[in-house]
Symmetry: C2
Subunit: 416 residues, 2 copies
């Protein structure tokens, strides 16, 4: 029996709220705060209908960056936990509010500074001692990737291997939107485009190796047949997980992240970048400061424009090599999620579903006392048992498989 | 000895002003009105330097759409002629001001309504009787294309053929910008992009034939070796000339317009169009109405960003087939213009040079009494002798050649 306060009710938040509503014993009182009241009401109404009127979310319209409003709201509700499905720009202010009002915290993606490209857990992890002192737990980056991919790594470390050599995380969106949708990023276009133009790096022998950018002509890619999903083309890129996994698996020799794109998608990305539409500085438009990437976001299709007809699957997982009982071992641990099924259950697509459900599972384990501890933790922290998480995850719509491979796929043997 | 008032001092206006300054006897007093005073001052200073201080333009900062200001300015200056190198959106208001204050008028491109895609001379030609009544002459669309390409057609009609069957206008920009410039439209990006996404049509046997759009996968193109310029790829499109040439050459069986593009250029165009960046409606950006194509224009490189290192040539001309003295005849009449030479002479590139110089030649012929008449005329009007125009054009930096061809090029024999 716990009160939770949820921030954000977009494609991710909406799924999270639907999923929480399926566990009324754990999430006995769900409050939501969002800037767009209509979106909040739609989610509330959908949940009311799906639970036959049993679950009634409480909506609090407002902006968490409005400190007076947000502080007052937390005081009034006194939640046990705040789950932040909102903008990663707000991660730090929400964590500070948690510290001020003694509330536990979960988010699904790493903090970003709106005025700089790039992301890092550094400023969030710097609050570790403060959370410990207050006997509070914050789990940061608890979506799918980052999140479950970190926990897949922890599970391999703690249950499947004696020692891990390499981790390759493969994120495949094998979905097909209707033909009128020419270009739509997988999630919030502003956050997604900021991420996709970053310099690429991967972890190798204790240091970062740089490898150009996704939009370069010599970007590194290979074709791969994803189980239950099909053949797609993963490209080497940098992603949140890579920042923290090497800390938690110190013997790791190499860690990389790959995401699938079509040639067409990367052409859009390159052209929008080259024209200046991924810029985050301001342009003077007849006296108004306009940020190009935010203006672009307004032109691009929203999840609600294509979710209804979105078909196909996502497949996200880790190919991990190492040693067990003195023998070489290679495994592939992954989840497959279906866009149409996710939509039917929650109104979100598989990208939203895979990002939101893990955070809800974290919240459930935390509120039920199965995960405990204090401080600011990444999902692969030894403190948080990976096995009970993965068992609970499977019960909540995100099943996973472990395949033992004879060897690393040829393309992953190379260093690039 | 005439006073002229010039509107606009961008890439086209700047060239026109430099060229006028070379004829101080004809253009004895040059006034310019522009919204960006810095641009006007740069042009004035450049001309002062190039004429050893002999020509001193008079700058009048302001907007011609500000009726009180513009009316007062015309009354004060009492020009014999207004040359409009400014936005085509302003063509009608400037023509109305000419009628009100008894001033002759020249522009380089057809009127466009900012709130609608497309262009037409209709509303300008509708002022014909009013100009006639006031004993004034207005020449509309007197750049290169439209403009010289219309006059090439008139010259063929009046001097080279007894009867014309087909006209294919070929506009090739064979220029190379420096490598950092990934995408820059040939002229004002807003006007250029609006034009390039229009439905394509051409004139055939007395009716318009439609042929999709430039951004379609099945756009019609062929490779062509342009004299002195090189092999480039002209694509079928719709252009201003096509609206009026059939009126002035009634026996014409087919009239088409072709412009060269690289595959890369068309990919940019298609993607910017598909993302919505060529839209002309308004988007609400945090309470400010932003027009996508105008915002895009602010991000794209300006002529001043690449003119200094712009090399290569433009080649614009007409391939015309018909009959002379009972025999089939095919000619190719064209001009070649060099970007670097145009820049050296005027600070503008060949696109600006070819657009501006013809209007200055029209103005010269008009002010010197070699072209006379009243009403609103297109450049191919029988009233305006094409031969004296083309002779004067050659003396002003835009030489032209006539080649007799054995036959139409294979690609132009087809109807598509």
């Amino acid at each position: 029996m716990s009160k939770v306060l949820v921030i954000g009710c977009g494609n991710v938040g909406s799924v999270g709220l639907h999923k929480m509503a399926q566990h009324p014993k754990t999430f006995s009182e769900i409050h939501m705060v969002g800037r767009t009241i209509k979106k909040c009401e739609n989610v509330r109404d959908s949940i009311k209908e799906k639970t036959n009127g049993k679950v009634n979310l409480q909506i609090h319209p407002g902006n968490v960056r409005d400190n007076a409003f947000f502080s007052e709201l937390i005081k009034k509700i006194q939640p046990a936990l705040i789950i932040n499905f909102g903008s990663t720009y707000d991660d730090l202010v929400v964590m500070d509010a948690c510290l001020e009002h003694n509330v536990n915290y979960i988010d699904t993606a790493c903090y970003e500074d709106p005025e700089k490209y790039g992301f890092s857990y550094e400023l969030q992890l710097a609050k570790n001692e403060e959370f410990q002192k207050k006997n509070l737990l914050a789990i940061v980056g608890a979506g799918f990737d980052p999140g479950v991919t970190n926990i897949f790594s922890a599970y391999a470390r703690d249950y499947l291997f004696d020692s891990i050599d390499t981790i390759d995380i493969l994120d495949c969106n094998g979905g097909s939107k209707n033909e009128e949708i020419k270009f739509a990023p997988n999630f919030d276009p502003e956050m997604n485009l900021r991420e996709l133009i970053l310099p690429i790096k991967f972890w190798k022998d204790g240091a970062w190796q740089k490898r150009g950018r996704l939009i370069d002509e010599d970007a590194v890619f290979f074709d791969f047949d994803f189980p239950e999903t099909g053949v797609f083309t993963p490209y080497l890129m940098y992603h949140e997980e890579l920042e923290t996994i090497p800390t938690h698996i110190p013997e790791l020799k190499r860690a990389r992240f790959w995401m699938t794109f079509s040639k067409s998608y990367l052409t859009y990305l390159r052209i929008l970048y080259e024209v200046g539409l991924v810029r985050i500085d301001t342009i003077d438009y007849n006296g108004t400061a306009v940020i190009p990437v935010r203006f672009l976001k307004m032109l691009l299709p929203k999840a609600e424009d294509f979710n209804k007809t979105y078909i196909g699957k996502t497949n996200i997982g880790n190919i991990i090599s190492g040693t067990k009982d003195g023998k070489k071992k290679v495994i592939y641990i992954y989840n497959v999620c279906d866009h149409a099924e996710a939509f039917k259950e929650t109104g979100g697509n598989a990208v939203g579903y895979t990002a939101a459900v893990p955070a809800v599972v974290c919240a459930k384990l935390m509120l039920e006392g199965q995960w405990h501890g204090t401080g600011v933790k990444n999902a692969e922290d030894k403190l948080l048992d990976s096995k009970i998480f993965l068992e609970e995850l499977a019960k909540n719509g995100l099943g996973w498989s472990v395949q033992t491979l004879k060897d690393l796929p040829e393309a992953l043997k190379k260093d690039y």
